[in-house]
């Protein structure tokens, strides 16, 4: 039971869990038909807000678990975080898209498609999170992949098409491997649970996991880890991620980093719990720790050679997903707690950075780092927002990521000092690259054009304020809640 749970004084017209699925789905249909883009952008924001509010109700009122949908302490974290970032990103998207339309990079016809796809993506991600059936979860992740592929290629430039193609091919291969893993889990479960629907229901699986064939489960986890790990963006399966982030519209970069990577990670965590419940199966930890650590160090080195600002922050996302996977791979109450906190903070910070970067790229008319200089002078609000975001993502105090990274590093030092040293090395390398590029971009003589943009600063600073607040003080109920989730993860 969540510590936040209490009885609502009134009846809801719709079950909240139905609402988080139905609102995006219906809006997607409406937006696909709506010809007025300014209305569509507002409707997109309204739908995302309604979904977020419905997700908040999930905190207070848990629906009864069925064979298809269920809510527990773990996925409610992801749903609330996801719908919140989805809402703020839709607000950012409204102003971003307006500019793209003005300069003619997008036409109203494409915008209709874009908005419908945005809500489809929200639907797919929520479905992946709340579904109780590992088959449906797989279908939802595949759907989320396809919608983002379509959006990454929306500019139809050479680069955008190549990025979308690469993302599509690598994402499909990943998702195919994940399906093979899912089938293997079913095969492992069948003798213990019986044939049919039950052997794919996650709550049934976890209750009976001890009786599964451990060898099959081991092989299944390797496939699931590689498959969903591709979508998490872990090295060496990350190749799609920088291109998809750099070439698509910036709101999509924000959703990719802030949400989609988390959803894939959620799938990995679910199967990790399944393996942990079977005493004879391999421990999933070392595999996750290795992939996480490799991603951190690899991405930290790669950061130094990036010339494109969105690509640069995409590599930073690989680094942070590596840290989170590492933390969950280490396991234990403290590391899991830190991993959850880090995931939340990274989602908020990285999407804030992309909000700033999106408007900066519009103002400068380029994404090349070398052509962006002196932002704090030429565009102080955006420039300082970026500075704050980068300071946060680099893990400097007093912001939220400092705290989560500190917890991960200290808990690792106590258990495996050598791993901790490698991790710290990666973090410091990344810090160096971030500070180097930040000083070039944010300070010095402003150069280049400075086009007017209708920037929306509210989503950017709202996220940064939350990250700052979390770094200074974490409210008691939130800590208790995350602790209970950390226990659940084992």
């Amino acid at each position: 039971m969540s510590p936040l749970a209490f009885q609502l004084p009134f009846e809801l017209p719709l079950e909240p869990v139905t609402a988080v699925l139905a609102i995006p789905l219906v809006s997607a249909a409406v937006l696909a038909l709506l010809p007025w883009y300014w209305l569509a952008a507002r409707l997109n924001v309204a739908a995302a807000l309604a979904t977020f509010l419905a997700a908040l109700f999930l905190l207070m009122q848990r629906p009864d678990r069925t064979g298809y949908l269920f809510i527990d302490d773990l996925n409610v974290v992801f749903v609330v975080l996801g719908t919140f970032v989805g809402f703020t990103t839709s607000a950012f998207s409204a102003s971003y898209i307006g500019h793209e339309l003005e300069i003619g990079r997008l036409t109203p016809r494409y915008l209709r498609f874009y908005h419908a796809m945005y809500q489809m993506l929200m639907f797919a991600m929520n479905l992946a999170l709340v579904s109780n059936n590992i088959g449906i979860m797989w279908v939802a992740v595949e759907l989320a992949t396809l919608t983002t592929v379509a959006m990454v290629g929306i500019y139809r430039t050479h680069e955008a098409l190549e990025a979308a193609w690469k993302y599509f091919i690598l994402g499909s291969v990943g998702i195919a491997l994940a399906l093979f893993g899912t089938i293997l889990v079913y095969m492992a479960a069948r003798p213990a649970v019986g044939e049919g629907q039950d052997a794919m229901v996650w709550t049934t699986l976890i209750a009976n996991a001890a009786g599964f064939s451990p060898e099959l489960l081991n092989v299944a986890f390797i496939f699931l880890m590689l498959g969903y790990g591709t979508k998490v963006g872990l090295a060496p399966l990350h190749a799609w991620l920088p291109d998809a982030h750099a070439e698509g519209p910036t709101p999509i970069s924000a959703v990719l980093s802030g949400l989609l990577l988390n959803v894939a990670l959620y799938a990995v965590l679910r199967f990790k719990m399944l393996l942990a419940a079977n005493p004879a199966a391999i421990s999933p930890g070392p595999l996750m720790v290795t992939m996480g650590l490799v991603s951190v160090v690899f991405a930290a080195f790669m950061l130094y050679r990036r010339r494109d600002i969105k690509r640069f922050f995409a590599y930073s996302s690989i680094e942070h997903m590596g840290i989170i996977t590492f933390a969950f791979g280490m396991g234990g109450a403290l590391a899991n707690f830190a991993g959850l906190l880090h995931m939340t903070m990274h989602s908020l910070t990285k999407s804030a950075i992309f909000f700033a970067v999106g408007h900066i790229a519009q103002a400068k008319g380029t994404q090349r780092i070398a052509e962006i200089r002196g932002l704090t002078e030429s565009r102080p609000i955006l420039g300082w927002g970026l500075v704050l975001g980068v300071v946060a993502i680099a893990g400097l105090p007093p912001l939220g990521i400092f705290m989560s990274e500190f917890l991960i590093v200290t808990s690792t030092f106590a258990r495996a000092p050598i791993l901790a040293i490698v991790l710290v090395l990666g973090l410091l390398l990344a810090l160096g690259a971030l500070m180097l590029r930040l000083s070039e971009v944010a300070f010095g003589e402003p150069t280049g054009p400075n086009n007017p943009v209708h920037a929306s600063y509210v989503p950017l600073y709202a996220h940064l304020a939350l990250v700052l607040a979390a770094g200074i003080y974490l409210p008691g109920p939130l800590v208790a809640w995350f602790r209970s989730v950390a226990r659940l993860l084992g």
Binding site: G135, G153, F168, R190, E215, N218, D308
Partner: protein, 221 residues
């Protein structure tokens, strides 16, 4: 299950692996599409046989989908794409037939070792060997995707990989229908997406050779 039923299932699944090998070295577009159609026919027969053996009527649906969609509709559509793009005369450089085939054999050996080790002999032997075959087809599909540069061949590689997944799903006794239909459906969706892509790629580039696309890597700007 009678020995005969088992042998036929075995033969069909093995046949799918064999056709995957055929796919690996096709260097002409039309030949590639024809072999892929054969791949889909063998898959369809294999799934239909599973449906008969397991007495699971719902499995006839994926079998029919494989036959109609993958053996007829998609190859015909891709043929048109190939003609419209004007690449039907080009011979694709398959990176060394010998090494590719050797790598393919290695992958089949690997999947046999992994799957037969992972499944204890107490598991239904048909399901067990089906899984090993299915994994071989999946890995051969992957190999094809990495060894080809042409977008159409990559699509064919991807679809042969999906065929392997359907083989695995049909071998898993009693696996819910939801998943199977969704697999077939996702292939359709995937195809639409790919179709859009090809159209756009054709519109923007003169070739669907992905090497041409590599020129536009963001890093080199």
């Amino acid at each position: 299950m009678s020995a005969q039923n088992f042998d036929i299932a075995h033969m069909l699944a093995g046949g799918l692996v064999l056709v995957s090998f055929l796919l690996l070295y096709q260097d002409r577009m039309f030949a590639l599409l024809n072999v892929f159609a054969l791949h889909a026919v063998v898959l369809s027969a294999s799934v239909a046989w599973q449906a008969y053996v397991q007495d699971a009527r719902h499995l006839y649906v994926p079998a029919a989908i494989a036959l109609v969609l993958k053996a007829i509709v998609i190859p015909v559509a891709l043929r048109r794409v190939v003609i419209r793009l004007g690449i039907h005369r080009t011979i694709e450089n398959v990176a060394g037939i010998g090494p590719t085939m050797l790598a393919g054999m290695g992958l089949v050996g690997l999947s046999m070792v992994v799957m037969l080790k992972a499944t204890s002999p107490s598991v239904d032997p048909l399901a067990r060997e089906d899984l090993a075959f299915a994994l071989s087809v999946v890995l051969l599909g992957l190999l094809m995707m990495v060894s080809r540069r042409n977008a159409v061949s990559q699509i064919v590689g991807f679809m042969s990989l999906e065929n392997g997944l359907i083989l695995a799903a049909s071998g898993a006794k009693g696996m819910p229908l939801v998943v199977e239909i969704s697999i077939a459906f996702s292939i359709l969706v995937a195809f639409i997406v790919i179709g859009v892509f090809l159209f756009r790629i054709r519109e923007r580039f003169d070739s669907v050779d992905l090497q041409a696309l590599d020129e536009f890597r963001g890093e080199r700007r």
